[in-house]
């Protein structure tokens, strides 16, 4: 169970959505469906009256939080079901929605996938439940992730600001400085290969989530969504080019290992020094601790390498929300738990169980930031995560059909990793295939 949940996170790596789509874009009034209104009194009444709630989530911190909640509200009965991890769960959710039966009251949905469910009005717009007032409680990135098209379609559960994890022992052994820019990263990759042919700076066999997050950090904005229907995809902007130029060199010079992520080999390689760095979200530590125990004490966290020396840009990688399903018949009760889970007392329970929060109060609390992690040699890694969270480049948007787009990444861009196809051409093919799908699905894509 834990293992799968890690795997998911990884996969979604692309995830956290900074949909700055923004309110400004929603000038026309038919954009933001009002949704129903539920007052605080309604919620309180629902909690005291009690009832049953069904939650779908692969996150292992939900269960203990639900237990604590049920102790507080004895009349509420919550069942947490793991219906699969990320994309698998979305399939199950789509099937349940299609069938009109067995739809949960609350579902765990990553930011990159949320706008798809919001667009089809499958998740409830909780703006009228008092959720709008919670805006300032959450970091801006995750908040933008739950507010596509001007509604509020869930509350942030966690976030994944990106950092550089590196194996200090390997860097020290070969006297290589920890890279601060991507140029230095490339040089370090070459030095590592030269010093020890068994060592790679990282593994990458092509992953949609990682690729989009890297482009995000480079300032690229490949996806533009305005209103509900207009979609523009462009993987040739300056930010995307920065990424493809660097990564093409990394691929061509065989500086990247092809070990598939989230496999046993991968965790082994992270533990034994075969893979020297990892550029992913802040949710990684607990996975390293359990997956690569022999790496304990060797790993450290640093700021994500920058595209310009002295820069301070970051991106989100993964991260997810919990949403009230439109089909739920107990929305007030569901919202009561959601509130508790995402910005009430439940956050503490979840942090204690290893979750990385999206609430600013917790991100900035001295207790959270000051925590020392033995696995990372006693480093206060949360400080770096919080700094990364604040440095996320604004303005990123995901497609309203990102789940499908990510599934065909391997058909197109992924080919650059195993054939002479250039990465830039692969991304162009991904763009074309996504546009084609968008138009078939009734969007105006170009």
């Amino acid at each position: 169970m834990m293992y799968t949940s890690r795997r998911n996170l990884l996969r979604l790596a692309g995830a956290a959505a900074f949909a700055t789509v923004a309110l400004s874009a929603c000038g026309n009034d038919d954009d933001a469906p009002a949704g129903e209104t539920v007052t605080a009194d309604d919620v309180t009444k629902a909690l005291t009256d009690g009832g049953e709630l069904l939650i779908w989530s692969w996150d292992t911190t939900i269960k203990p939080t639900a237990d604590a909640f049920m102790a507080k509200y004895p009349k509420v009965k919550i069942s947490v079901v793991n219906a699969g991890t990320n994309a698998d769960q979305y399939v199950a959710l789509q099937n349940a929605l299609q069938a009109g039966k067995g739809v949960p009251d609350l579902a765990h949905i990553e930011y990159y996938a949320l706008s798809q469910f919001a667009l089809q009005k499958q998740v409830a717009n909780i703006a009228g439940f008092g959720a709008t007032a919670l805006k300032d409680k959450f970091a801006p990135g995750p908040w933008n992730g739950v507010t596509p098209n001007g509604g509020v379609f869930g509350l942030p559960l966690d976030s994944g600001p990106m950092v550089l994890y590196y194996n200090k022992e390997v860097f020290d052994k070969h006297s290589i400085a920890v890279p601060e820019t991507w140029e230095q990263y490339y040089e370090a990759a070459k030095k590592l290969r030269a010093a020890d042919p068994n060592v790679y700076i990282a593994s990458d066999s092509g992953d949609a989530g990682t690729t989009t997050s890297m482009i995000w950090q480079a300032g690229g904005k490949p996806y533009t969504v305005s209103g509900e229907k207009d979609v523009t995809i462009n993987f040739a902007d300056a930010g995307a080019q920065k990424y493809t130029t660097l990564w093409q060199k990394m691929i061509d010079e065989k500086l990247l290992s092809s070990i598939s992520g989230w496999t046993d080999e991968w965790f082994q390689a992270l533990g034994n020094g075969t893979l020297a760095t990892l550029v992913v979200g802040a949710w990684m530590p607990s996975n390293l601790v359990s997956g690569s125990p022999n790496g304990a004490g060797k790993w450290r966290v640093a700021k994500m390498p920058q595209w310009e020396a002295g820069g301070n840009a970051s991106a989100e990688n993964g991260g997810s929300a919990m949403s009230v399903m439109e089909a739920s018949t107990r929305k007030a009760l569901a919202y009561g738990f959601l509130d508790y889970l995402t910005n009430g007392e439940g956050v503490k329970t979840r942090i204690d169980n290893g979750a990385f929060p999206a609430t600013t109060a917790d991100l900035n609390s001295p207790e959270f930031q000051g925590k020392e992690f033995p696995y990372f040699g006693g480093q206060k890694i949360n400080e770096l995560f919080a700094a990364s969270s604040a440095a996320v480049v604004p303005g990123w948007q995901y497609l309203p059909f990102q789940v499908y787009a990510n599934s065909i990444f391997k058909d197109t861009a992924g080919q650059a990793y195993i054939t002479p196809t250039k990465l830039a051409d692969g991304l162009k093919a991904w763009q074309d295939a996504s546009i084609k799908y968008g138009n078939e699905q009734g969007f105006t894509a170009k």
Partner: protein, 299 residues
């Protein structure tokens, strides 16, 4: 048909429902689990559900789209190559094994029969995972061999070799099954034919060519048809291996895998049903042609 003829002979006879009472239970189940799903697939293949705009009737548009879909043809071409190369190899090996065991000149024939058949008892998923680990050129057997001998075997999970690697898995899995079909057909050849051949001074190869092969033609045709269907339905092995060879196996690697991807990643249920129906038709036509040809020669 027969009722009509019967009616001519005995015009007054009352219609009897006895026959239907016997066939009824079968017909009911057959309709429910076989005809109804096909009818439903055909029905949904005539519609199109979009994320924006909902569901609308589009007639044969999905079929038109499929016939001009490069991904579909790519997948179909791949299974066609697979069929033309893998099936003859697999059936050839199975035939040789069956003839060897049947020849009676093999020590421990029973052991060989069981040993060759055993892979068929391994679930396809397990077989694919097992071979996937062996194929790995980082940590798998291939990687170990490369390291131990300082050689560089081309990556079995790379884009150039992946189809061959899958062919190898499928061959390993199904040689035993086909061998058993051939072997049981060989066992029912009357001994008197062999005795006659011996009296005529025929050698073993002459016996194979003139007695054994003609006698098991039916079994050969059946095995070929099963194998063709199996090839067109290729799904399990690529879907398991795609985690180990993420880019080499695309979402449209085989038509079945394409239908699956369309349905589960893209919610394109209608188009997915269309692909499935077209594949069903293609398989049916090819299997029918083989059957016609095989049987005609036999008679």
């Amino acid at each position: 048909m027969t009722t009509a003829q019967a009616a001519l002979v005995k015009p007054r006879r009352r219609r009897s429902w006895t026959g239907w009472q016997f066939v009824g239970p079968f017909m009911a189940v057959f309709t429910l689990v076989f005809l109804a799903p096909i009818a439903y697939s055909i029905y949904i293949s005539l519609f199109k559900t979009r994320l924006i705009g909902g569901t609308s009737f589009v007639g044969l548009e999905n079929y038109q789209q499929a016939l001009t879909d490069p991904n579909f043809w790519d997948g179909l071409g791949r299974v066609a190559i697979f069929l033309l190369v893998q099936v003859p190899i697999m059936l050839g090996i199975a035939l040789v094994a069956a003839l060897a065991i049947d020849s009676g000149r093999l020590h421990g024939a029973n052991f060989f029969r069981i040993a060759i058949f055993l892979p068929y008892a391994v679930p396809a998923v397990v077989a694919a995972i097992m071979w996937g680990f062996m194929y790995g050129n980082q940590f798998g057997l291939v990687g170990n061999i490369n390291e131990a001998f300082g050689i560089n075997i081309p990556a079995p999970l790379g884009p150039d070799w992946i189809l061959t690697s899958i062919g190898n898995i499928v061959t390993w899995e199904f040689v035993g099954y086909n061998m058993l079909i051939f072997y049981s057909a060989l066992r029912v050849i009357p001994n008197s034919l062999y005795e006659a051949a011996e009296i005529d001074g025929a050698g073993q190869f002459r016996i194979i060519r003139s007695i054994k092969l003609p006698a098991i033609r039916g079994a050969l045709v059946i095995a070929t048809i099963f194998s063709i269907i199996g090839s067109f339905q290729l799904f399990t092995e690529p879907s398991i291996l795609q985690k180990l060879a993420p880019n080499a196996i695309t979402t449209f690697f085989t038509p079945n895998y394409y239908a699956y991807s369309l349905s589960f990643n893209g919610q394109q249920y209608n188009y997915s049903a269309t692909i499935a129906i077209i594949m069903g038709l293609v398989t049916m036509i090819i299997a029918y042609v083989i059957q016609l040809r095989g049987m005609r020669k036999g008679s």
